[in-house]
């Protein structure tokens, strides 16, 4: 491994192509940490946005007019405003209103850090899309299927858990994957509030080493590969989960 890393140092000395995140251990650790922060942020947002989506879809089927209206309002507001402004709004406007706590160094720090705000903001953003996706999936399950299950004596919970949800999940999987890919791409916005994710770390490295071109090209390929692998895996999953003789 060291041999490969050293080769990149030689590459720099010979050609001037500077890739410090490969041969320099400090920069390498930064980059790896940035990569895992991106993945971690995506996973956290994926989890919470899915929960928001499920609860929202359930609330949209509520018989209370105002519950449905509030959920609709949430969806429209988060879908039609820029995610960056939402992030700023959460981080700067709401973040400053919250109480501050004493930290380990005797100073004061906000109760929620930038990572937490990025996770909250992006979860709400992706969740707004998920509500619509889940709702359309539940509506896509034919009424006759539910009626057949009722006729077989399934309880309401059983129908939801064993009939509606598995079918709906397969229907919405493409849209859900699309949203997930968008979410991974949107995590770059967390750069704006100094969450140490991949773009932020790359920015740090190019500020230290003045190798903007190399870092930019690397970053493009890194995201291309990350998203490409994700899309490929999701497509395989979609094919494996396909309902035979149902839809295209």
């Amino acid at each position: 491994m060291e041999y490969i890393f050293d080769w990149f140092r030689v590459l720099y000395q010979e050609t001037g192509i500077n890739l410090p995140f490969l041969y320099d251990e400090y920069d390498r650790n930064r980059m790896v940490e940035g990569f895992f922060t991106t993945i971690w942020l995506s996973l956290v947002c994926l989890f919470f946005s899915a929960i928001i989506g499920i609860i929202g879809a359930w609330l949209q089927g509520s018989s209370f007019k105002w519950t449905r209206r509030i959920v609709n309002g949430y969806i429209q507001i988060f879908r039609n405003t820029p995610p960056l402004v939402q992030l700023y709004f959460f981080y700067f406007a709401i973040g400053t209103l919250l109480p501050r706590v004493d930290n380990d160094w005797g100073g004061q720090s906000p109760i929620l850090g930038s990572f937490a705000w990025a996770a909250i903001s992006l979860s709400f953003f992706a969740g707004a899309f998920n509500v619509e996706i889940f709702r359309s999936g539940i509506e896509a399950v034919p009424k006759s299927t539910v009626e057949a299950a009722e006729a077989l004596g399934f309880s309401k919970l059983q129908i939801y858990r064993d009939i509606t949800l598995p079918l709906a999940f397969r229907v919405v999987l493409p849209a859900l994957n699309n949203n997930l890919v968008n979410l991974v791409k949107t995590t770059t916005l967390a750069y704006a509030i100094a969450v140490p994710e991949m773009l932020y770390e790359a920015n740090q490295i190019w500020s230290d080493n003045v190798n903007v071109t190399e870092m930019m090209v690397f970053l493009l390929f890194a995201y291309f590969l990350l998203v490409g692998i994700l899309v490929g895996a999701m497509n395989r999953w979609e094919r494996a989960m396909k309902i035979p003789g149902y839809g295209g």
Binding site: G73, P82, V85, T188
Partner: protein
């Protein structure tokens, strides 16, 4: 008439109609938005009597912020126009008969579709020169122009996919019928396929435009003087008062919402209108 029985054989039909946004008309957005912004402002105004209230500060800055927002819209128009032209060509390249053209267009499309918008914007910002030598003249290359180029890259890739998807969604009988009537490929594409595709492309294209408009604020991160940058500067020049943050950022949210929500509604309406025409 209805009967009370233990066994409801026939259920009352209860159609679930999609509701309009909060059951409100379009013009209701304005008063609600105003309350949303000025509500917290008024609440804070009681505590800070000696300083100017957040409401009046926001009113002072509103013309400048609106100018910044207009600049955002200009960026979005230009990036959309540029991206649509190049993306259209790229999309047609994806359905080309030449394998080389098809595969290279596919790769370019996928590459720019998979990269985050912000990374592409950084890419354009830092790697394009600040001025160019054209026939001995030094042509300056300002930030906003670079932002337009940077934003048009993902638009291009998405338009390319929209074009490809629309052409692929047409029944192959259209191609075969045109061929049997001795149309050339170019004629088929221009006279038969594309006119039918326009209808299919319009809703996703408008959706993309709405996404692009919301992405123009990203240009603030790389230092273009648009509405977000101006907001930051306005807040700084007011001395960074924390009670100003919510009204100002809320104002920007409202601006974008007023602009993008009608577009979204119109897109949904178009989708419904064209849904049954195949």
């Amino acid at each position: 008439m209805s009967y009370k029985t233990d066994l409801p054989v026939m259920l009352q039909a209860n159609p679930h109609a999609p509701e309009p946004f909060l059951g409100l008309k379009l013009w209701h957005i304005l008063p609600i938005g105003l309350i949303a912004i000025f509500g917290p402002g008024l609440a804070f105004a009681q505590s800070t009597n000696e300083a100017q209230s957040p409401l009046s500060v926001l009113l002072d800055w509103a013309p400048l912020l609106l100018k910044g927002f207009a600049f955002n819209l200009i960026i979005s128009f230009c990036a959309m126009a540029l991206g649509t032209i190049i993306g259209g060509i790229l999309g047609l390249g994806q359905i080309s008969l030449l394998a080389v053209t098809r595969h290279s267009s596919w790769f370019v499309t996928q590459f720019f579709r998979n990269a985050p918008w912000l990374v592409l914007l950084f890419f354009a910002m830092f790697l394009l020169p600040f001025e160019m030598n054209v026939f001995g003249f030094k042509v300056p290359f300002p930030d906003w122009l670079k932002a337009i180029l940077g934003l048009s890259l993902p638009v291009m890739a998405n338009v390319s996919e929209i074009v490809r998807g629309a052409v692929r969604s047409l029944p192959s009988g259209q191609w075969e019928a045109a061929e049997s009537l001795a149309y050339t490929r170019l004629q088929t594409l221009w006279l038969i396929i594309l006119p039918q595709c326009i209808k299919r492309m319009l809703p996703p294209w408008m959706n993309l435009y709405s996404i692009l408009t919301m992405a123009t604020v990203l240009a603030s991160i790389v230092g273009v003087n648009e509405v977000m940058t101006l907001t930051g500067q306005a807040l700084a020049s007011e001395g960074g008062r924390p009670e100003l943050l919510a009204p100002f950022y809320g104002f920007i949210l409202l601006l974008f919402f007023i602009y993008c929500y009608p577009i979204a509604r119109f897109t949904v309406w178009l989708e419904k209108k064209y849904a049954f025409i195949t």
